[in-house]
């Protein structure tokens, strides 16, 4: 059995104004009728493959998590007392599982178009995890993205590759070189390992963090489906990501290739690209009209939007906020006054 550990943190200001503090990205139906969080649960719902999920989230998201996971039996919800990034969040889940349990860490705000490919990759990763590897899913790099971390493959092992190196977000020239060289894939933030192996690596590379995580769990409280780690112990932790704290340091890192129509939906351009466009590259959600437009997306929650003569532009209407951005400008949405002053 694979134990899904679903991470539900972060606000997602880069999809402002649709995504806001009051209705964050994982809990929005950005693609189809299911929210990204619901779709993440759906992907791990085959109980012949997956154990009931553990969701790790902040207190601000509990209402959303509960409402959107009401039908998931035996779910466990771990409520982070404070935001400390992914390494401690995953540590909480690991400490609540048996040491030999294979975890599959899944962000809840990504999109995966090809579920069969996801399942195949998850199962391959789980096999390697069972052999005590710490496994990252490597997303086939299709463009010189500068917004993602990269993974460089090393020697092949049965079912995957050793990781030669994790590389932080590169500049454009380096990203192009990666594509040319081959052997590089995107780090999609999906990981598989035994709970005990993760905690052992954490203890080795971030001993203080590992100790605080164990204390927070030991002194935590279970209330129904929810588990509340001890706030004081958890507050001690210096925030860090699983990539920095564990994956870049372990000698047992492996990568499994996953070509599964993955997108982090990291900004409006990425969301547009994950949606189905017409012959002119336009996407229209909500009432509106596009005249002489190419590669334009309208996403309105009410008012009609009429667009004339534009190319590579996104128009979003969300209540009292309207965003009009070039595709290039989509990277800067999170820095807008409206997005940062919510």
């Amino acid at each position: 059995m694979i134990h899904p550990v679903i991470l539900c943190g972060g606000g997602g200001t880069r999809l402002w104004p649709r995504s806001r503090l009051a209705h964050p990205k994982p809990f929005l139906p950005l693609l189809g009728e299911r929210t990204l969080f619901e779709a993440t649960l759906d992907r791990c719902s085959d109980r012949t493959i997956f154990a009931p999920p553990i969701v790790v989230t902040g207190s601000g998201h509990i209402d959303f998590v509960q409402a959107q996971s009401a039908t998931v039996e035996d779910i466990r919800i771990v409520v982070e007392p404070s935001a400390r990034n992914t390494a401690p969040a995953i540590g909480l889940a690991a400490a609540l599982l048996p040491a030999d349990a294979v975890m599959l860490v899944c962000p809840s705000d990504h999109h995966i178009a090809d579920e069969a490919a996801f399942l195949a990759a998850a199962q391959s990763a789980a096999v390697l995890a069972g052999q005590d590897w710490l496994v990252a899913l490597g997303i086939e790099a299709k463009r010189p993205e500068t917004g993602f971390g990269y993974i460089l493959r090393g020697d092949p092992i049965p079912g995957g590759y050793r990781v030669q190196r994790f590389i932080e977000k590169p500049d454009h020239a380096r990203a192009e070189q990666f594509l040319k060289d081959g052997g590089y894939s995107w780090n999609g933030g999906i990981f598989a390992f035994r709970a005990g192996n993760y905690l052992r690596e954490l203890a080795q590379h971030r001993p203080d963090m590992a100790r605080s995580v164990q204390q927070a769990v030991a002194a935590g409280k279970r209330v129904g489906t929810m588990f509340h780690p001890d706030p004081a112990a958890f507050a001690e932790i210096t925030p860090d990501s699983i990539d920095y704290a564990v994956m870049e340091n372990t000698s047992r890192a492996a990568v499994v290739a996953a070509d599964m129509g993955w997108s982090d939906i990291g900004n409006w351009e990425a969301l547009k690209n994950a949606r189905t466009a017409d012959a002119d590259g336009n996407v229209q959600l909500g009432a509106g009209e596009l005249v002489d437009c190419r590669n334009v997306m309208i996403d309105s929650d009410g008012p009609r939007v009429s667009v004339i003569g534009l190319e590579d532009v996104v128009v979003v209407v969300d209540g009292d906020e309207i965003l009009v951005t070039s595709m290039a400008g989509a990277q800067r949405v999170g820095k807008l006054g409206g997005a940062s002053s919510q």
Copy 2:
């Protein structure tokens, strides 16, 4: 005394969605706090120069006209029973005035930035009108506009020029040639003549129209400040503009130069150009934020509009309608589904 005749017809779909059937262009405060109609009345309010105005309008606009001219003493409102274009509308006013009265015909949906220049031009035109010329104000042509008619100057006369020729909207190449050649000005739709001269020319060039106008006035009814021409007589008229029916045919056409910051505000680009921009060429009305934008206008009646990375774009928010158009696309606004299905 100059008798202002203010024409208030037309819907103005080219400034949709701000201008709509329910709130048409002349009655909107598009530039400053006064509406275009109020500003037109203001320009003719000096009673040492101007007699009380005659407003010619359709029944759909009466409420706006009355509300926005409530403080104008001795105003007369002529209510067109049906829309028959400008030649008959001006005929109605002419037939209600003494034959030797000098009329100044003014559209009510244009902008004139320099009122002193307007007054000077109006008075020059009135002098020529008193000498039995039919006078057009010639707006200095500053760009190769294809949306306006042109007037070619002929021989000079004291205070102006004979009109050599009126030219309909040219294509771009011809418009550029006009600018190069010189002697061409824009036809701004502002005219001065004696009432009797206008009616005489109308009788000569459009005898049926002239007869129907006289009958409509003879059988019309006065109700307070309003005059209602006879609907049946007026309905007989084949619609025509003053340009086609009279100005292009008379041998007594004159033109007076007027460099008065005139704009017909014929589309969103023209309105943007008539407004004060910041150093980047941006104009912002209503809440919003412009990031990395040049020559962008936001005009919102409520929601905040955030724009990133665009150039030469207009964003208009009006209740349930949002327009996003390139400057070039501004010409096509009137043909949008929303604009044409009001």
